[in-house]
Amino acid sequence: MHELPFVESVLKITMEQTEQAKAKRVVGVNLVIGDLASMVDESVQFYWDIVSEGTIAEGAKLHFKRLPAVFQCKDCGTKYQLDGQHLACPKCGSTRVSIVGGDEARLESIEVE
């Protein structure tokens, strides 16, 4: 459900940019979404189809670049992806870790004519 406000922001930014660029039509929208952002591609697409209807972005193709959730151990430096069961470092067991990727949900670029 939080995909809706996300999609609304994507459309708003898309409209501002296309107006500035004096574009006639939006053909593609490139999104970058991390696995920790809790976004479902199908849901984003579903809302996009609704909110973009009647705009110059209607029918634009959404492209999803998915980024995995990546943690890094602060003690031994190991980078690892989550297995859904454990959060601690799989190599040394440390719980001093930081999340280095997977949080993002952003509009990277738009393709216009």
């Binding site: 459900m1 939080h2 809706l4 406000p5 996300f6 922001s9 994507v10 708003k12 930014i13 940019q17 296309t18 660029a21 574009a23 006639k24 053909v27 593609g28 920790l36 952002a37 809790s38 959730a69 989550l82 859904g84 069961q85 454990h86 959060l87 601690a88 719980t95 001093r96 870790v97 999340i99 949080d103 949900a105 952003r106 509009l107 990277e108 670029s109 738009i110 393709e111 216009v112 004519e113």
Partner: protein, 221 residues
């Protein structure tokens, strides 16, 4: 005409974050300590909040904002304790955002509010993405939800300054591995203030209230 690509630098949540900052500045100007309570549905947000009001309403001038998809049940409960309360019905949206909150604030007299309690919509996913401008973000987990929630909802556990584990009076009846739970929390949010409580029996509430009072007093002084 060929296809061109336009790169976007603006962050998708910039609009929300800007309004959250405006809310924050408003709270600072009125000397209002705003606390955003987040939890899954049924974790005991309202019960914990009612307890908080019960403990602190003689010490501070309090008010509440309650976010729910529908109904005014929770705001009515807050108002029944004698504090001003405003309901925000999100109309289907699963979280409060900074705009919704800013729309509700004029209904409260913030100049005469020391402590503003914000009850977010029951949800462990969306509220984590939308800053409100609150001074404190607090997560309420509960024993029946299970000990694996930090592993399943890491973002929510990362973005808070304190957490309560509610319904600890039910620990004897659930296979809740406290070490596993705490370990998950510690990885995501090292050094997080953690309070095991039962809003029902009152167990553990003193430590939580003492901590909250310290936080509020250091802001209000």
């Amino acid at each position: 005409m060929g296809t061109r690509t336009i790169s976007i630098v603006e962050n998708i949540l910039d609009a929300n974050d800007r309004i959250a900052q405006t809310n924050r500045e408003l709270f600072d100007s009125t000397k209002t300590f705003a606390i955003n309570f987040m939890a899954s549905p049924g974790a005991g947000k309202t019960s914990v909040i009612l307890r908080t009001v019960q403990y602190l309403k003689d010490r501070y001038r309090m008010a509440g904002v309650d976010g729910d998809v529908a109904t005014t049940i929770d705001a009515d409960r807050m108002a029944a304790t004698g504090i001003p309360a405003v309901q925000i019905n999100t109309g289907g949206t699963c979280h409060l955002d900074a705009v919704m909150l800013s729309g509700a604030l004029p209904k409260l007299n913030l100049d005469e509010t020391d402590l503003l309690i914000i009850e977010n919509v029951g949800n462990l996913i969306c509220p984590a993405s939308f800053k409100l401008g609150s001074r404190l973000d607090v997560l309420i987990a509960s024993v029946p939800e299970g000990d694996d929630k930090p592993y399943k909802y890491p973002k929510m556990y990362r973005g808070v300054q304190a957490m309560l584990l509610n319904k600890v009076d039910l620990l004897p009846y659930f296979d809740f591995d406290m070490d596993y739970f705490r370990k998950g929390v510690e990885v995501l949010n090292p050094g997080l203030s953690f309070f095991p409580v039962s809003a029902k029996t009152g167990e553990g509430l003193d430590a939580y209230i003492e901590w909250l009072t310290e936080q509020a007093d250091s802001f209000l002084k």
